[in-house]
Amino acid sequence: MLNLDLSMRRGSFQLRARAEIGAGVTGIFGPSGCGKSTLLALIAGLLRPERGHIRFASQTLVDTAQQLFVPAWRRHMGLVFQDGQLFPHLSVRSNLSYGYRGLQPAERRLSFESVTEWLEIGSLLERRPAQLSGGERQRVALGRALLYSPRLLLLDEPLASLDQRLKEQILPYLKRIKDETGIPMIFVSHAQAEVDYLADQVIPMTPGRLGIDLVHAG
């Protein structure tokens, strides 16, 4: 499904990644600072690799040999950031519908009602992000990415900024999304337990290097 083989350098940090990632939930597990977020930014199209390619389904997203680069806003992939990155000037409702509004009705695979119901955020719609707790914020961020009906959902340590109690609260939501929507996900974390709980396959990552040729049929 997702095939990547790339390298990039940022300052003294060198990232080399080669993988074939299947459907379902893929956990990428590795210590802090090993380049997990960089890898997701590359897949999302927020960064350009120095060399290499990324292919998703039958589409080439990046290929440095062909000078090809599809920008983030044309990739139709959702990315949930570590700290949510909700738009502070918009209500929860407007945050949730930000990506949803830009879609053709036929592209909307999930309804606003079902997503707010799964994530139990229906009562927060008129609030501003500043009025939300950490756990609520992450749930809204998740809902916002889901309502964009992404072809692939990238989760960048979505639980890292939460305490243990909140983590245990959010994990079931993630599991529910996985079971209900079937949207393929790549879940990046430095916590083994989270990855084990959620992922169908786990790719270990060591500093600057992502595991080689792991194939998962999904």
Binding site: W73, F81, F87, H89, A130
Partner: protein, 235 residues
Amino acid sequence: MLLSPQEWQAVALSARVALCATLVCLPTGIALAYLLARRRFPGKFLLDALVQMPMVLPPVVPGYLLLLLFGTQGPIGSWLKAQFGIVIAFTWQGAALASATMAFPLMVQPVRLALRMIDGRLEQAASTLGAAPWRVFLTVTLPLATPGIIAGAVLCFTRSLGEFGATMAFVGNIPGVTRTLPLAIYSYTHVPGGDAAALRLAILSILLALVALIISHLITRRAERLLGYRSHAEP
């Protein structure tokens, strides 16, 4: 406070000139601030210096340069006259151009600062939700820069109300045409018995400045609250 018709004329003209100058500076100032805050290009330092220049030069100098460029004999002025029959020198539009030139850096600086304060990851988040660059700019960047844009617009407006040197050099001091509030005050101090009128207009200037500052404060506070920089509980 009762003003004579000539005094009212000066006040109304100042308001019109300052408003026009602000309307000209708003879009151009935002565009230039964006360029300076976000892009790297050769000659950026020079452009930056050029934008700041009116702030550090004696105002007469930009005014004189405007006269050389936009005067009926100047390269731009003669072209405008030949092509469109437009004359800018010694008109109120010229006064607005002089004000806009002088106030432009005051518009650019706060907007530029506001743009630099925006967390780039919010714009990245918008792009991962399918927003094209122009939509990101309109729905995320611009609203988040609102406090800076308001501050810039107010500074621009008040600076335009007070513009003296460049206006005098470019469009002169013609009653009813280019004699704005500061020029009127200056003129009254030079005629016998004009002290009372000068003082009235001076007090009016202070009041106008105060009102502008209060309005800017209120709008900024509201914007900050809407942006979530301030919680509702705070006074």
